[in-house]
Symmetry: C2
Subunit: 370 residues, 2 copies
């Protein structure tokens, strides 16, 4: 068994997930290194900040430099200098969000490279094969991710394809000698009964872990929490659960409470670029006048160079001067903040005080404060 549940606190779960590159403490957040690189940070930085896993995107790495080049380099771990666990997605989400053209066929999906316009046909088998070649530790099935406002009939139909592709991914994966963990992805849009159906079908096939996909695609937060809450009871207790693409610190707390173990999100890195910095007291919008001569550190409670040694005034200066160093420091700080949140969540569950911790955190953290 790759996953073991150690402790619960309310609905929150504390566990361990064994991978080919080490054991991960759950719940955890995965820093995004889309094309085998985090924005301005090296993998050693992530380890130093307490990061356990890096997520890379199959779609991007397939287009550039190509999985064969990565395989020749000795795999993605060696290529990017990261010895810890790597999760790769299947490319499905990017096909639906980045490609101008996409033709959905029974067999797979045809899409156009956003880099050079090449037409590419991605099948379930191909998605798994690419991830095997990359050598990632946790790999995802190919799925279709319907839009937040998709009609129920569309979602129901799409689900058939997603389940069929999931089965084909499993079969292809089983035939290979890969030791990667294979995760299924629950779809079903904003319809709890379709989510249940999807979860049951995937359990029937059997996976090392179960993701909830197709959320955080524009629906209200309450809908996302509700769908999560109505989906997790249909997932096996003894397997890890991954809420894809989520979310804000509040989303993470709400989702951990609903039994989620794994997260990834572009927010800490993307918001870093925009000068939105997460702090214990809320989001600091660094370009605001109030920080011009604020010589207090970014966040004394967060353990990173940027958080401790860089003042808000200095960060504002770097942001305004468009210094490339800003992105590195802002990313470092935001990632450190997220990783500390996860570490605090894990401790709180161990001490069976998750709800108290959540309350304390939210009392201090004001999303629109600064």
């Amino acid at each position: 068994m790759s996953f073991s549940l150690k402790k619960t606190s309310g609905g929150a779960r504390r566990g361990e997930l064994k991978t080919g590159h080490g054991t991960i403490q759950t719940p955890f957040f995965m820093t995004i290194g889309t094309a085998g690189a985090i924005k301005g940070l090296i993998p050693d930085d992530i380890a130093e900040l307490g990061g356990q896993v890096i997520l890379s995107n199959t779609y991007h790495l397939h287009l550039r430099p190509g999985e064969d080049t990565v395989a020749k380099a000795g795999g993605l771990h060696k290529f990017m200098n990261w010895d810890g666990p790597i999760l790769t997605d299947s490319g499905g989400y990017q096909v639906f969000s980045l490609s101008k053209i996409r033709k959905l066929k029974d067999d797979g999906v045809e899409f156009q490279s956003h880099i050079n316009g090449d037409k590419i046909f991605l099948t379930p088998e191909k998605a798994i094969d690419i991830q095997h070649k990359l050598g990632s530790d946790i790999i995802m099935v190919l799925d279709e991710c319907p839009a937040a406002d998709a009609k129920k009939a569309y979602v129901k139909n799409s689900l058939k394809l997603t389940t069929k592709w999931a089965k084909r991914c499993k079969e292809f994966h089983e035939k290979s000698k890969s030791k990667s963990l294979l995760f299924g992805i629950v779809q079903g849009g904003m319809h709890p009964e379709l989510r249940e159906e999807s979860a049951e079908e995937l359990k029937e096939i059997g996976f090392d872990g179960y993701a909830i996909g197709g959320l955080s695609v524009g629906e209200p937060n309450e809908v996302m929490y509700d769908i999560t809450e109505k989906t997790t009871p249909h997932l096996p207790e003894d397997k890890p659960r991954y809420l894809m693409g989520v979310g804000t610190p509040i989303d993470i707390l709400e989702s951990v409470e609903r039994g989620i173990d794994m997260f990834d999100c572009v927010l800490p890195t993307r918001n870093a670029r925009h000068g939105h910095l997460y702090t214990t007291n809320g989001i600091v919008r660094i370009k605001r006048e109030q920080y011009k001569e604020d010589f207090s550190p970014l966040d004394e409670d967060v353990q990173s160079y940027a958080s401790q040694k860089c003042t808000k005034a200095y960060m504002q200066h770097l942001f305004k001067a468009k210094e490339p160093l800003f992105l590195r420091l802002a990313t470092q700080h935001n990632v450190a903040f997220y990783l500390k949140l996860m570490a605090d969540i894990r401790s709180a569950i161990e001490e069976d005080r998750f709800n108290e911790f959540k309350k304390e955190f939210l009392e201090k953290f004001n999303e629109t404060a600064g």
Copy 2:
């Protein structure tokens, strides 16, 4: 005495320069942190790579965030988190290279901010005052830097102003209680006799060190070497000599041979941005096809994470994918290469084998190789 000459090897000099933030081993290269930040690197990185001094630009810091803000932060060292020596220029060069308008008056120079178009009047006293407020360890006089093709009559006239301003800078500096080292700047264009005149006038005023300005402005390399060679004999032996804005590894070797102790140049950082990476065997233009699947490290002989752990293939991938991490790694490597060159030069002088070292280096280093 702030400077002591320890050893020579041919024309090359090995010495020590004492500053308010530590003693610097000469000859040395200053990494450029224009607006209080190096491209993608933190000051700790520079120290780790063997960097001794950071250079910042008075012009940029005056415009943004302003010297008063930096002073309130506790000075530039504290603002940017660097405890070692800092040299600032006077702003003169940037006024001549970046401002659309500049009106030269007897009293100073009027220029326009390249950020918001504000008109600013910079006097010799103001240039020194700003540098005092920044708290830098080595400060430069305000000078006029004529173009490479300026007529002799223009240069001769310009020199009068430069000398007069140098005197005013010295007087203002002496009246203050600053412990910064003040450097004069020899001008005189491509005319050895004007260079001699300038050097003699500055010696008469008396400075802690002497810079050669107005070179590397578009003239042929041989002219630059020639002017340097004809200027250094007129500079005091017991003061450090700084060749401003120079240069390539070859320029540095040629200039050390002609008695120069201090260098700064945008090349390692600017070339990093363009994907030109300095290696023991010459410049690697990383986007070239030949590196696509070259899984050898950037440069095994250079001690930095990027040089040792990143393959040429990975660096090409980051460059092509426009990953922000590329700039950090490329800068780290190029700066490491330059700092290693300086360390090797210092060792070679100590062992009185500078000329042999220069020959060996140039045999391997092919500027147009890759």
